[in-house]
Subunit: 264 residues, 3 copies
Amino acid sequence: MIDKKRFEEDIKKIRVTNPLIHNITNYVAMNFSANALLAFGASPIMAHSPMEMEEIVTQSSALVINIGTLDENWIKGMEIAAQTAYRNHKPWVIDPVGAGASTYRTQTALHLIQEYHPNVIRGNASEIMALTNNRVQSKGVDSSINVEKAQNAADWLAKEHHTIVVISGETDYITNGQQREFIQNGSPIMPKITAMGCTASSMVGTFLSINENSFMAAAHAMAIMGITGETTAEKYQSPGSFVPAFLDNLYQMKDTEYSNKLRQ
Amino acid sequence: MIDKKRFEEDIKKIRVTNPLIHNITNYVAMNFSANALLAFGASPIMAHSPMEMEEIVTQSSALVINIGTLDENWIKGMEIAAQTAYRNHKPWVIDPVGAGASTYRTQTALHLIQEYHPNVIRGNASEIMALTNNRVQSKGVDSSINVEKAQNAADWLAKEHHTIVVISGETDYITNGQQREFIQNGSPIMPKITAMGCTASSMVGTFLSINENSFMAAAHAMAIMGITGETTAEKYQSPGSFVPAFLDNLYQMKDTEYSNKLRQ
Amino acid sequence: MIDKKRFEEDIKKIRVTNPLIHNITNYVAMNFSANALLAFGASPIMAHSPMEMEEIVTQSSALVINIGTLDENWIKGMEIAAQTAYRNHKPWVIDPVGAGASTYRTQTALHLIQEYHPNVIRGNASEIMALTNNRVQSKGVDSSINVEKAQNAADWLAKEHHTIVVISGETDYITNGQQREFIQNGSPIMPKITAMGCTASSMVGTFLSINENSFMAAAHAMAIMGITGETTAEKYQSPGSFVPAFLDNLYQMKDTEYSNKLRQ
């Protein structure tokens, strides 16, 4: 269960300290993720060149690696960034977008996880299952599959890599292999908008930067995404007008409003 | 003439089956095109690395190649993707953005067309003319030139490459060199918004995935773009607010509303 | 002091001639910057491949180079573009995004400035200070530091490189090292939206294309951004809904409305 006081404290801390969050993310998500972090109170930076990875990671408070539009040039930057984060004890989160949709993505994600031990892995059910070599077919970036099976996969993955695993979905699931958290907030419109999941990962990075408990940070971040989406969907039921309203809510909603709306 | 029943059937089919559409498109258009396909009912995937092209194309129902922000690394992925689509009889569409603005773009588009035979080529008038080596100067990405001359160029191009050619404009023109279709729907505000043409190409890919008749698929896709734009412009006459409203309409409008509003 | 008549003339000239503005800019800003230029009346083109840089720069009326998501492949294109602009007397502006945040960015920006003499350098205070080797720490992309110190840095930089330097901030500062201009228009919400600064640089490029006086062009461009933002903020105080309304205003506001709202 999320402790409401600690949830509020984390939100306030982000808004007071404006932590610098380094995002190596995909072309589709970059603008929306940057605007979401800015609206919520963080300072996003987007950078991927191997030539500056050590300096940027060292200055940042957390790192987000998202493999959504992967290629060989970007992998080099991801490798140095993840290594630098690991060596300097900077918290980092990986979003294995499309794991299962290609061997290339599955293997790149697994390599980064095995070598550089992210604090959190966040994906949808099929991506998380792909990382367990369960050979579940991933239909592109989204997919609806057996929820329980996916949660078992997440538990296994969390134990195997001593990390936190988050599955985004109708109910968000956060696990360290033993402790489990469920977030009920959200809206069915959210999967109809691109980069919502990617932005959730950037939000996880934001909370990791100010909360040393990675499990709690991941749960808080997913709660922010779900509550903001649910609140937005009360007035906006179509994906176009949902986007600006979602950003407005990230900017306007107070920590107490967030904690009051939490459904677990 | 578009058959209204078949138009409605195609729309329903997309919304029921959510076809996976693989887009190798430009940085400017990616977010908007992904959101447009999601709103309308397709499942977009954006991927460009040569390392995963065969797998991604093989899983997808159609391929969209857009050369808007071309470079050497991306051409490699486009080449494998187009080749894989051609060999596996996956339908694909090319958007020769900026053909005529540089030799590099013109030649890359012509190479892909000659070697891998796209089902549809969709561009604006100057881009289509550039592909016929008519030496028409292209002013960047948009341009207004002699409509009849452009249509003759499109006819020639369609016959030369045994394909369908679409010219977007005030009136959209679809030709296979003999059969011709004109779509009157649209709004003058649309050229004031970036990535509208690119998104039209992604929409063509979407209809190609569920209709084996490429001519009909192209006409249906252009009709969707024109009707959605025209409907949106009834309430939104400025480009900023037009964008979210356009996505809302793609999401909300029923197949019968589309067929009723069709103007040919 | 901006002369209101000349300010109005520049706006009208852009809207009548729709100048082609070549942008080599970052992934985060591309869509918003393209839409802003289109809405205001320019014709943006985004291209970065070394294979087409000479042709694209030669055809364009101005060049914008923004190093926001820099890497080795893009530097090659920037180098050829800047060189071509310099040799062909095409006006160009550099936006040294994140200078100071990494040695790589600072050195790339300084190299392009020293070799190819941009007409304008536009950044925030910490980026401009970084280019003077003042060793001011840059906190990512935004930062609030001593205003006077930054203005002295801008003066020094302008004299050193015989160029115009713009610092964006609560008050925009334009200097050639001797002549100084202050623009008071703007809104505190603007730094909460990504790519606002990048778009200001693209707007500087737009005005450079139609006004040979680079100092005046830079001042006019910053006035457009500030006045549009201020006008938008009268109705929209949150960053999500601000974005479409900002684009609407760029499209709708007349030259006389701009000149009437100017605050210096």
